[in-house]
Assembly symmetry: C2
Homo-oligomer: 667 residues x 2
């Protein structure tokens, strides 16, 4: 975005396009290349959807509890509830290996825009999308072959630039320490996105190589001593997705169609998981992580919708857009670019039509079956012709997911698949031909029971057999879930193709818009978030809310007070470990803090560092006022919320009896 | 429905069309007129939505706790939580007057079909609907003037018959005893619609006349001793609505459009109320009754949808329909009647278009304001031209609701209205002209805060002033909620008119269908439920579920066992009163039982009586298999669930220390 439209501490900058001028001007700070490289190489991406950082020379990784919780869930069973009880490995032997985690360290960035565009010659969007996919697959494959590194081509600025990101992968990741959910998610859904907060939303893992703790050259040292109000801090993490380039037409589509649709969907799944949880303690445990994810998304989307339904938001955006369009129209050289905005408006109507159209039933056994069927079919094609995610370059990551040993619970999957089949009937109509074939003359509940009861995909060895057996094995399989996956495969491919066409046209239009914008003013800018590594900056800073000043920091004693004030409310009981340590804990130790850095979902687990590059915090949330930052940044009230590094150390020492671990951090 | 299509113990019979032949044939039972009259006059309707019965000569009324809970909620405050703690009046002085309850006792039925139809001459549906409304209003007005009784013309058999029901009204209704919700709704949402059950879902009230307990000639005596497996029982209550006359096209509309729509709506409101409840104990108390109602409806609708999504249901219905249409088509005299089915199919498309179109924002202050505006406007017209519900005959009941002193909570109403405004934007589009006027340049939250903060309709005296002031007072009012009600009034009338037209056409088509069906076979039959008094019958009878036989009875000791088995789960703790009495309570006393009688929502609180007309139970639920009974009855697994009369007496004596009350019952 041209800087004329970049506000305050806005921006999620590419590591190869850092806002040096802005940092110099506003903060008199000039990061060296070494400073940036060290921070980049100390940052990791959790491919399950989050960020983290290396915090010791022997492979320790810090992230959020809520980023790790999917793994905690997968490592839990009826007898071992890591989600409820937390965990502490007393020795390396006790560190628990995650069944399917992949961590990525960004080791290199290369601009490949010209190579990608050189491969696209067709004017037809469908064909252009194919060509672009092939060009990208070729670049990724060559890079992977040359370097042995995971190689992803990233689409930036809505398609105006393509960068090749090379990652070192860590797939042997083990759990070292996690607090109880009662401490990590203290205040539950009620406090989620609120501030002040008192959450120890932190977990420590360790990456291994060849069965031994990885030896790391780059890891963050930890700041000793308090963080100060007004300090400049940096956030290095992987923001998932922003939509700041969106035109007013695109925002209206979000407001009027997409967000209401997604919210109906989320509420439906939330009630479904709640109902399943009523089945007892074990049912509740099984559904817990998924329910949390749904609730978190529902609250976030509600905030986004509320922001868009406030006429001020779209009006402001509209005024800026008019200004831009006016400048463009006035100049003969740029006047043609205006059509890109019209194209975006036209595309929204087609996106509307695709809402809800999916045959990707959200159930783990179906997802596995579907991937097995696609792997077999895609392997019949040359690498460059394959669907994204099924190329040779992506194979390792795909197999790690498909062959995950994470437990699958039939009772939970039956309920989920029942609802998906029911929803499939609702969306396409009960008399749609594919619906009739999928349901096979039964009601959703009966059909789901038959599928879940009859499939063998829960068995990892069975999956491996099908992968080894290739297309013949898949096509001759009489497994009901595999057969279902094959039944809907053609429709899956048809829908995916339409969506890819829409995306290609949208990409081209946004690339035009980006070009148009850079015509107006060329300056330090940043592309919308793409779940790749970015650097954001900001100040530790309180804010006013309902006429009251909110201090940027909370301290340990505040957690105990907060529990007292909400006695009797669900999710407001601190765990026994905290209650037992109340007298010995340093009550003044900083626990949470807010800053103005520009973050979004995916940044969860990002390290927060000071000018020296020393860790001072761990991003875990945004406040409720920040929920609109998906499409517009503001630093008036919107804040990123972090766990303070000092709070984590204090908790490890005084509450979790993990002095050894605390002392190995930062070294 | 012709008896060829009436199954087992199916039927909710009119008191003036009792199934005498069937009762004689199957049960060798011949009720006398006196038997039926006594039962009818001992039955009452709760106009808030439920049933009940007179159970003593001095005005005691038995109903469900969940029927009374709206009143318990209205009588509660931050300091007195009747919902949680229950209540026992130790003297008549302690009996608490409900702020807006109206109970109706059906004292007479008259067939007025000819008079109604004589008033309808137009072929135009809109005009015909007007004429019918006027004819009905005239009949009701004349009856009210003649008898002084509440007089309602009821549309039966989808419009084939009109009966005039005359009711004695009781508007001074006081709370005598209610158990804790933990006992009444033991097992919560998890156990709702399940069986076996252990719920004391009962509450006792008393009707007053002229400030004194009403002296009643008709009330139910209570059976002494146990109820037996296989016994014939009767249910006398007010089933709310069934749709058994529905054609296959109408059921498909339910399956594909209406039920998915309603479920999205309910889930939305459920999450909204849950989120509000997270605000603390008092917030939870304020939202509790509404949340329960929503959850109950959501579970019921989900069951209905699941039933319709099972292809068997519609197929069976379709085969019956084909059979009927074939018989009709074969006969020249009846072949024309087939077009009614086509008309119903056509009407479903128009109903689909109206889904969600409403300007009746679900918030109590708006509802009051809207009624105040409508009263003023309707009073300008002659009685027969007024909207249904605004005629002279209906005035008393209307004013009781509008002038209710039930507490209104601004925080809750703000949240509800915010969501309604947000939904209004979603349904009509954010740029709809009326939406823009309603939102007045603000976001839903800000606008709702302004409306709720600015209105005076919470004040009953203010409402009375506006009623007294008439149209001038309303039109000159600067109250923001009154102004909002006036702003949307034209649209309200427009939508209501379209809906009434659709209903009129549907009524006429179903009247044709009823005529057609009675052409095929004339026999003992019953019209779809209309929230008016009906008699159902059935046997006390267990059933098989998942290969296991479910006994029809549960006993007191079962409740304690059930609590033990679900220890630690929400809503499975028996209240202290029960735990303290565990040793002294008669553990073998029957607590709940099931029977095959044909019931539906609205029957809640209905007395269950034996051949002698003695009370043996109190309907409070249907099992999960009965949720499809909205459109098809089955006695294979579907059962009505009751509290046993003996269980209520035992609880009063041994648990609630209310021996005096127990002894006054049935006398």
């Amino acid at each position: 975005m041209p800087s004329q439209f970049v506000l305050g501490d806005e921006g999620m900058y590419l590591y190869n396009e850092l806002p040096l001028q802005k940092l110099k001007e506003k903060f008199d700070f000039e990061p060296t290349e070494a400073w940036a490289e060290h921070l980049r190489l100390s940052s990791v991406r959790f491919n399950s959807g989050g960020s983290g950082s290396f915090i010791s020379s022997d492979g320790l990784v810090l992230t959020n509890h809520h980023v790790a919780s999917e793994t905690l869930q997968k490592l839990s069973s009826a007898d071992r509830d890591l989600i409820a009880d937390g965990y502490l490995a007393r020795s390396q032997e006790e560190e628990l290996r995650a069944p399917d985690l992949e961590l990525n360290q960004l080791v290199g960035i290369e601009d490949v825009t010209e190579q990608v565009n050189a491969g696209v010659s067709s004017k037809d969007p469908a064909e252009a999308a194919e060509q672009r996919r092939a060009a990208i697959a070729t670049i990724e494959k060559q890079s992977k072959e040359k370097t042995g590194l995971r190689s992803d081509v990233i689409t930036l600025y809505g398609g105006a630039k393509y960068h090749l990101y090379r990652y070192r992968k860590y797939t042997d990741v083990r759990l070292v320490w996690a607090p109880e959910t009662a401490a990590a998610f203290f205040g539950g859904d009620a406090d989620n996105f609120e501030y002040p907060r008192y959450n120890l939303d932190a977990t420590i893992m360790r990456v291994y190589e060849d069965g031994k703790p990885a030896k790391l050259d780059h890891f963050l040292s930890w700041r000793q001593g308090k963080l100060n109000d007004g300090e400049l801090v940096f956030v290095s993490g992987n923001p998932g997705r922003t939509q700041r380039i969106f035109t007013v037409a695109a925002l209206k589509y979000l407001r009027d169609d997409r967000l209401p649709y997604v919210l109906d969907f989320l509420r439906r799944k939330e009630i479904l998981m709640q109902q399943f949880s009523l089945g007892g303690a074990e049912a509740k445990r099984r559904a817990r992580d998924e329910l949390f994810g749904i609730q978190n998304a529902r609250k976030a989307y509600l905030g986004m919708l509320a922001g868009l339904q406030d006429p001020q938001a779209i009006q402001t955006k509209g005024e800026r857009e008019e200004q831009v369009l006016k400048i463009l129209a006035e100049n003969a050289e740029t006047s043609e670019l205006v059509s890109a905005w019209e194209e975006i408006a036209e595309i929204q109507g087609r996106k509307r039509e695709m809402l809800g159209k999916s045959v990707s039933f959200r159930s783990r056994p179906f997802d596995i079956a579907s991937n097995l069927a696609l792997i077999a079919a895609e392997d019949q094609k040359p690498d460059t012709d394959r669907l994204r995610g099924f190329t040779d370059a992506a194979r390792e990551s795909l197999l790690q997911r498909v062959l995950s040993t994470a437990p699958i619970y039939d009772d939970l999957e039956r309920v989920k698949l029942t609802d998906e089949l029911s929803r499939f009937m609702e969306v396409r109509g009960a008399e749609d031909e594919l619906v009739l074939e999928v349901l096979a003359g039964k009601g959703p509940r009966e059909r789901a029971a038959e599928l879940i009861g009859g499939t063998k995909v829960n068995d990892v060895a069975f999956r491996q057999e099908l992968i080894d057996g290739g297309i013949e094995a898949v096509q001759s399989s009489d497994d009901p879930m595999i057969k279902l996956a094959q039944l809907v495969e053609a429709e899956y491919r048809r829908l995916r193709k339409i969506n890819e066409e829409i995306e290609e046209e949208e990409r081209q239009a946004y690339a035009e818009i980006t070009k148009a914008m850079s015509n107006i003013q060329d300056s330090e800018s940043y592309p919308d978030a793409t779940f790749t590594l970015r650097l954001a900056f900001g100040e530790v800073k309180g804010y006013e809310q309902d006429g009251q000043w909110i201090d940027p920091f909370t301290v340990m004693s505040g957690a105990y007070k907060h529990a007292e004030q909400h006695a009797g409310q669900e999710d407001f009981d601190l765990p026994p470990s905290w209650m037992n340590a109340q007298k010995s804990v340093n009550s003044d130790a900083q626990l949470n803090f807010v800053c103005t850095a520009d973050i979004i979902g995916g940044n969860s687990g990002s390290p927060v560092v000071d000018r020296k590059g020393e860790l001072v915090g761990l991003i875990f949330d945004g406040n409720i006022q920040s929920l609109t930052s998906d499409y517009v940044y503001s630093d008036q009230q919107a804040r990123a919320v972090s766990v303070a590094g000092t709070g984590i150390l204090e908790a490890l020492k005084s509450i979790y009896n993990a002095k050894g671990l605390a002392e190995s951090i930062g070294k």
